[in-house]
């Protein structure tokens, strides 16, 4: 094999598979097509086998994995489309543009389903902020998301941020987009009907990011400098026009299918559309509107210029579509047509310059050998850091001081610095926005119901125990939705991992998926979309296995939403779930002992299911004055967060104080408040639901009081609000 082929990232075995499939050697252009379509990023060749473990069906699922986004039915003919995607490698190289173009890509995925994008969420991972490089990356990423999301008019309503040395060389930028559509508007990324036309719409095609997909399918090592594709620059202004124009185009019955151009550009999107429709596509390369007329066919086909989409429209209706896109000042051209032969044919001035069978190009990539081998042999081991158990208690540490210090850690503290840079209100649907609760709540104009959305995941748990970590990631998302009173409906996930050819990495990958799958089955929740990002490692560092879980839920009546914070003095504070558990994996151990602990408290899925039902009933009956799940930082942090909302303190009647009880982070717990006169109704419901509970105390005053110690809410709030200061 020549140097050229190797540089494209194809293996010898893959090259042979191509020759065997074509019955000849590919030419340079064809090889480029294969390099992109068969890249890990586009083909999922190493992950496919494992992704099959995830449950994907359910009675509300209108579209599961396999399209640009998943779609779930809501009420009154409304549906929600959603997906999360990573832009890790580009953001590590150029945080501003990398993150910005990540936002653009996921928005177009939602657009492809016929939906209007109504919300964004972002999940970010950086090194510790004591490292200036981590701070610089964070500032760049946040301003990139702010730049793009704000301009394009989609509110950024949620997400999370963690800092950990594991991400020092490979930051993670996962963005989720949520769209709303009527069931009748649903579209697919499909090409059908011989003779129908293929249109390219949006921005001009330039020399951007050629080979971005193959770049994202390799480790980030120093010498990639030379291989590094040009940084792609997004144009949110064009993206906004593309949204409006495409929403118009979606109203025309002659639109057969549409697909965004992401990684791989024109070398992958039309082929995927043809694969779904069981047809072929021929494109005429000279018809493509270019930014630079000197581009070669190879560059045109592999360009990853942003803000472009491909449409398949009924023959004869082209003019209608051309008009719409021209009205919005966008580039638009008929670049090809649907053909009967199931090939992807590229023509240049009438001459065929590349032609490959669709079935070989899309989905034909053989599973790499290492997957089979690793799958058989790999075990955990090196993923687990040696860490000491800290079952012993704290000695003379003050609980108040410990709490204050935890609240000041960037992972726990307020992310206001971030989300105040995001327009989280545009479209005027954001009833509960960032920083206000466990999940964001969006109203649907003219409807009684509302949507709740959440995105997040904890890599440290997965590094300790990938199965339990994967399971928790799903549980936590469920809790976030239950806290606001919403019923979880569907899941999207982004699996961020290191190099999959390392057996332990692949082992952890499988464990995480098994954990997520078991949790999803317990709640009968389908995975409807997702994304895999491998190769997040450098010469010296691997990221933690980091599944990021996005979830959408339904609040049947927006008036039944439950606030997070303490509402009234005298309200009674209850803990739902068990009080006692291990401290392993907690932020507390990290901050005070620089350790992880030896094990995570295992999650009790039976109890999870009971809590699920009970929390829904409590919300429907409007019994609760507030609810908040216990997650990062543990019990006291959750209580402090409840006190910040209105500056109301609490008398806590806790006597069994231990690090595990106060700062352990196992899930399956909520802290709720109830009016004193409804206490009996609450406890009755908890008993009949089989949920263990205990009374923690009373909402009162302007301080938290615990076992004789007392600290002003305002003092804690100061620590919390100043945790992120970049």
């Amino acid at each position: 094999m020549t140097k050229f082929e190797l540089a494209l990232g194809l293996s010898q075995r893959e090259y042979e598979a191509i020759c065997a499939g074509l019955h000849r050697e590919p030419n340079e252009l064809e090889l480029g097509l294969f390099a992109l379509n068969w890249s890990e990023h586009c083909s999922y060749k190493s992950s496919k086998r494992f992704l099959k473990l995830l449950p994907t069906t359910g009675k509300r699922v209108l579209q599961g994995p396999g399209e640009n986004a998943g779609v779930i039915e809501l009420e009154n003919g409304w549906c929600v489309a959603f997906k999360v995607e990573s832009h890790n490698h580009p953001s590590a190289v150029e945080p501003f543009h990398g993150a910005a173009t990540g936002v653009g890509g996921i928005i177009r995925d939602i657009l492809s389903m016929g939906a209007r994008p109504i919300a964004l969420l972002d999940s970010l991972r950086f090194g510790e902020f004591s490292d200036p490089k981590a701070r610089r990356l964070c500032v760049g990423v946040v301003s990139g998301i702010s730049h793009y999301g704000n301009c394009v008019g989609v509110p950024t309503v949620g997400g999370d941020i963690y800092c950990d040395d594991a991400y020092a060389d490979n930051c993670l930028v996962n963005v989720m987009c949520v769209g709303l559509l009527k069931k009748s508007e649903l579209k697919r990324a499909i090409a059908q009907g011989v003779g129908n036309k293929i249109l390219l719409v949006g921005a001009l095609t330039g020399r951007d990011g050629i080979h971005g997909a193959t770049f994202a399918s390799e480790d980030l090592v120093g010498e990639t400098e030379a291989k590094r594709p040009n940084v792609q620059v997004g144009d949110p202004f064009t993206a906004k026009l593309l949204i409006e124009a495409t929403r118009e185009a979606c109203q025309l019955p002659e639109l057969i299918g549409l697909q965004d151009l992401g990684a791989g550009g024109l070398s992958t999107a039309p082929a995927e559309m043809a694969a779904r429709g069981g047809v072929g596509i021929a494109i005429d390369i000279e018809e493509i509107p270019l930014r630079d007329p000197t581009m070669t066919p190879y560059e045109i086909l592999l360009s990853e210029s942003q803000e472009r989409m491909v449409l398949c429209v009924r023959a004869g209706s082209e003019q209608k579509f051309l008009q719409i896109y021209r009205k919005w000042g966008l580039a638009v051209a008929v670049i090809g047509e649907v053909i009967a032969e199931r090939v992807y044919r590229v023509r240049h001035e009438g001459r065929t310059i590349a032609e490959v069978p669709i079935s070989l190009l899309v989905g034909g990539a053989p599973e790499p050998d290492f997957v089979r081998i690793a799958h058989r042999t790999a075990r955990g081991g090196t993923m687990r850091p040696a860490a000491e158990a800290h079952s012993a208690l704290h000695g003379d540490r003050s609980w108040c001081e410990a709490l204050k210090r935890l609240l000041h850690s960037p992972t726990i503290g307020s992310k206001r610095w971030v989300w105040e840079q995001y327009d989280h209100m545009v479209q005027i649907n954001t009833v509960i926005g960032p920083g206000a609760h466990d999940a964001a709540v969006l109203r649907v104009k003219g409807e009684r119901f509302a949507l709740a959305v959440t995105l997040g995941g904890n890599g440290r748990y997965c590094a300790l125990d990938p199965y339990e970590g994967g399971l928790r990631a799903v549980c936590e998302a469920v809790h976030n939705l239950l806290s606001v009173g919403a019923e979880p409906l569907g899941i999207t996930d982004c699996l961020n991992f290191a190099n999959p050819t390392v057996p332990e990495v692949l082992w952890a990958f499988e464990q995480v998926i098994r954990g997520m799958a078991d949790a999803a089955r317990a709640f009968e929740l389908p995975f409807v979309s997702g994304n895999v990002s491998f190769y997040n490692q450098s010469e010296t560092r691997k990221i933690h296995p980091t599944p990021i879980v996005g979830m959408v839920g339904l609040l049947r009546d927006i008036e039944c939403r439950v606030p997070m914070g303490f509402q009234r003095e005298g309200d009674q504070i209850y803990l739902l779930g068990k009080l006692s558990g291990k401290v392993g994996g907690s932020e507390y151990l990290k901050v005070f002992y620089d350790a992880w602990g030896d094990a995570l408290e295992p999650t009790d899925l039976e109890l999870e299911r009971k809590l699920f039902q009970t929390m829904l009933t409590l919300a429907q009956q409007r019994l609760l004055h507030s609810a908040h799940d216990v997650s990062d930082g543990g019990l006291l942090v959750a209580i402090a967060e409840k006190s910040f909302v209105r500056g109301l303190g609490a008398h806590l009647e806790l006597d069994d104080l231990s690090e595990g009880n106060l700062f352990g982070e196992w899930p399956t717990r909520f802290i709720v408040t109830v009016a004193p006169e409804r206490e009996d109704a609450l406890t009755e419901l908890l008993q009949s639901g089989g949920v263990p509970y205990r009374r923690l105390g009373t909402v009162a005053g302007d301080a938290l009081e615990i076992a004789g110690e007392r600290i002003l809410v305002e003092e804690l709030r100061q620590a919390y609000e100043t945790a992120l200061d970049l």
Partner: protein, 221 residues
Amino acid sequence: MRAAVVVFPGSNCDYDTYYVLKDLLGVETDLLWYRETALHRYDLIVLPGGFSYGDYLRAGAIARFAPVVQALPEYIARGHGIVLGICNGFQILTEAGLLPGALTKNISQRFICKTVKLRVENNATPLTQLFRYEEIIELPIAHGEGRYIAPPETLERLKRNRQILLTYHGENPNGSVENIAAIMNEKGTVFGMMPHPERNSEQLFGTGAGLKIFRGLVHLV
């Protein structure tokens, strides 16, 4: 009463503003494409928030040349009705010279989205007539270029003629001179404000102070 909300390429609060006027207040309202110039049929023209032309070069710098903006001076001179610029709309009006001063990058150099407190400095205008003088109200802001500045003579004139309508109260989020958040022209026919009244027009989102601004403008007293 008939209102228009202008749609520039890149507007993104156009529909929100339309929704408040049309669906919440029941005002006959059109979304008006930026190429339109027949404005006389409208009593109120709103230039909404967003990023017209991507806010490239300077916020509002390109949009001020749009046909609809070019037609505004005549609309105003003939007294056909009132013009309101919200956020990006305010930026366009200052760029076009229809309101004095300029809106520049926030002192922090960052975009900022939050609810702020404002003080009503003049309640004898259509925009503010439903508030008490010096009343403190809450409205969201969302902008990267909202720092109002103007030469001293202009500021003098603004104060003398009571053209300053709203000022930031408590905290000045962007560094605007004299805490200025909203102004009008001398005749009281052109209004510009950085805060977004359409984002606090329902109880779901706060106090509903924004709806009072629209009610005042369309004389639904």
